[in-house]
């Protein structure tokens, strides 16, 4: 790796700073739509403090010009104070942190499955272009793209839970939930699948997995089209290139040409999608967790929103903005590593 990639990485890392300032500025701009008394809830760590609301307004200068408030607000945010969530009766940061593991567990299953299924379908669709397989996969992708996630969730629940009596909503069945709350089951990570393995408890593992099936299917179906489409068109683009012709002319068998040459190059453009996929997953979490009563940060945010719990929703938006910015950073760095034109150029 030459020095050019170091320059690229340094420049890309520096670019994160203005983006983060922008993200905080936008959320701050939303807070300015409220009056100082409402805004005070963004600064308190305890609802009893709201009794002395004028003190808070004075302390953080909530009646002063916006640019002065920005710095006192940012200072609180950096210290981890996102305000008090009235819908959950706890500080917003605590609420987000305690519920993050549920969302992470969903993402750990849904994201890789979406990526693998998307790549696989995109690949066979391109290799078998204009055959029945291609038409079928493309039709599936348009359907997945157009399905309302909340409706898909409801139909899946009605069929499997209502009809067949399997895959109930929630993260665990009541008995497993009760077990997890006792001291016998040690919570290491908050991911019930991982924790049940560490506790050597197969029953809880199966229960946790069965509760993941429907939400993961929903998230996969609504996000897979994105990967599939790009993989397909990028495969087709690579297949038309002269290096493929030369590889075939040298007598390489078709399998090697596809797997070793074309797929490898086509995957580069799929990497750039990871940012968009992250956004799709985060938005999808809000809906999916709500339908399946899977109590992660998306469920929390949706419920907070219906109760107009301002600090909770803004805190959640700030967190997702942060995740999205970091995801895009990782994608760009990964891309630089994979694509020699950037690495060496």
């Amino acid at each position: 790796m030459g020095s050019s990639i170091k320059v690229y990485i340094a420049r890309r890392l520096l670019l994160v700073i203005p983006t983060l300032i922008g993200v905080t500025l936008l959320i701050f701009a939303v807070t300015q739509l409220f009056d100082p008394v409402q805004r005070a809830s963004l600064y308190v760590r305890d609802p009893r403090q709201m009794g002395a609301v004028n003190e808070i307004i004075a302390k953080y200068g909530l009646d002063r010009p916006a640019y002065m408030q920005y710095f006192s607000w940012l200072n609180e945010v950096i210290q981890g104070n996102l305000g008090w969530s009235q819908s959950l009766h706890m500080p917003v940061l605590n609420a987000l942190l305690t519920r993050f593991s549920a969302t992470a567990e969903l993402a750990i299953f849904a994201a890789p499955i979406t990526i693998f299924v998307g790549i696989y379908l995109g690949k066979i669709s391109a290799v078998k272009k204009d055959t029945l397989v291609d038409h079928a996969t493309r039709a599936l992708s348009v359907i997945g793209w157009s399905l309302p996630s909340f409706w898909l969730g409801i139909v899946l629940l009605a069929f499997f839970y209502g009809g067949l009596g399997i895959f109930s909503p929630g993260r665990l069945s009541p008995w497993a939930e009760a077990l997890v709350r006792t001291g016998e089951f040690k919570v290491y990570t908050g991911l019930y699948t991982v924790d049940s393995i560490l506790n050597l408890n197969g029953a809880v593992l199966l229960d946790a997995l069965s509760h993941l099936v429907l939400p993961v299917i929903t998230l996969t179906i609504i996000n897979v089209a994105l990967i599939m489409r790009v993989m397909r068109s990028s495969m087709l683009e690579q297949l038309g290139k002269t290096y493929v012709l030369s590889a075939r002319a040298r007598g390489l068998d078709e399998k090697t040409v596809i797997n070793k040459h074309v797929t490898k190059n086509a995957l580069i453009s799929v990497v750039t999608l990871s940012g968009l996929l992250t956004a799709g997953m985060l938005s999808g979490m809000v809906i999916t967790e709500t339908i399946f009563e899977f109590k992660g940060i998306g469920y929390f945010a949706a419920h907070a929103a219906t109760q107009l719990d301002i600090p909770a929703v803004l805190g959640f938006a700030l967190l997702t903005g942060l995740i999205f910015v970091i995801a895009n950073l990782i994608v760009d760095l990964l891309y630089a590593y994979i694509d020699p034109r950037i690495r060496l150029g």
Partner: protein, 308 residues
């Protein structure tokens, strides 16, 4: 130049283009399906007052109800699609839902496109500092997942359809601004723009008469693909209880009314199937119709892949 040929003459390049598009469409079965669905919903939306006449002089978007019992009733001769929770008539709801979907979809896309043209046009035409400032503004908004940012805006503006419309516009315009900026950068580098400048055309005239018409196709493609996504996002927000009020003919809201009834009754788990299947099918078909049409238009209009 253009004024020499009559508008309806076959020599008019715009008419030629339209004929070309229609010919191309006829050869692709999926675009026919998409177009038919879109035409169907357009007719539904236009004829809503005829197909499902409002009974009172209240807001016609509020579904009529035949009682106050919570339990949905199956399709009958009185309510051909049955009723949902609260005895709201599903037939009325899905028909007027088409109108509601078009109202929010077209409004959000049109206003976003106009803001996008102004912002993207200024950025792409004048470049430099203006470009830098305006594009950083779009970066900030695009740094959030759309649905989540829209949720934050809705909480700030207060629940309701007007709020979600405004929130969606605020979230959606940056992608149009980006697109138009790119197109303006491309087109302003062409010789004919240089020529227009040389003969002393004003900036406004160059932008409106020479550059903008050349950016129209990518915008049509994007707009047609966005109507589906906007409708889906708006429906999701209404489903979450942030948009349309209870009883409003909004597909997302109607689906949310069915949430308590998905397990049916003992012995008949699908007793209330109509309450979630019927409005869901309407929403899904509307979105897939627009997505298929948008896909078809992209294949036909995209200068990179057309006429091959």
């Amino acid at each position: 130049m253009m004024s020499k040929t009559k508008f309806w003459s076959a020599e008019n390049p715009r008419i030629k283009e339209l004929v070309f598009v229609l010919k191309k469409m006829r050869s692709s079965p999926l675009s026919i399906v998409g177009l038919s669905i879109v035409v169907f919903f357009t007719i539904l939306a236009i004829l809503a007052p005829v197909l499902a006449p409002p009974q009172t002089d209240r807001d016609p978007y509020i579904m009529p109800r035949t009682g106050y019992s919570p339990t949905p009733k199956p399709p009958s001769s009185e309510n051909i699609f049955g009723t949902t929770e609260g005895q709201y008539d599903l037939y009325y709801g899905v028909i007027w839902g088409a109108r509601a979907a078009y109202r929010i979809g077209l409004l959000v896309v049109a206003v976003s496109a106009i803001i996008g043209i102004v912002v993207g046009g200024l950025a792409g035409y004048y470049k430099g500092v203006i470009d830098e400032v305006l594009m950083r503004l779009t970066d900030i908004i695009l740094a959030f997942p759309g649905l989540i940012l829209a949720m934050a805006f809705v909480v700030a503006f207060g629940r309701g359809l007007d709020s979600i419309t405004l929130a969606l516009i605020l979230v959606w315009w940056p992608s149009y601004a980006r697109l138009i900026r790119g197109e303006f950068l491309r087109v302003t580098a062409e010789d004919f723009v240089e020529a227009a400048k040389a003969v002393g055309c004003s900036d406004l005239r160059i932008m409106l008469r020479h550059v903008l018409p050349n950016t129209i196709f990518p915008m049509i493609i994007m707009a047609s693909l966005d109507i589906g996504s906007v409708t889906l996002t708006a429906a999701a927000l209404s489903f979450l209880g942030l948009g349309a009020p209870a009883g409003y003919s909004d597909w997302g809201q109607i689906i949310s009314l069915s949430r308590n009834w998905i397990t049916g009754v003992p012995g008949n788990p699908f007793a209330y199937w109509h309450a979630y299947i019927i409005p869901g099918i309407f929403l899904f078909l509307f979105v897939i119709g627009w997505n298929l049409l948008g896909d078809a238009l992209r294949d036909i209009l995209d200068p990179m892949i057309r006429r091959r």
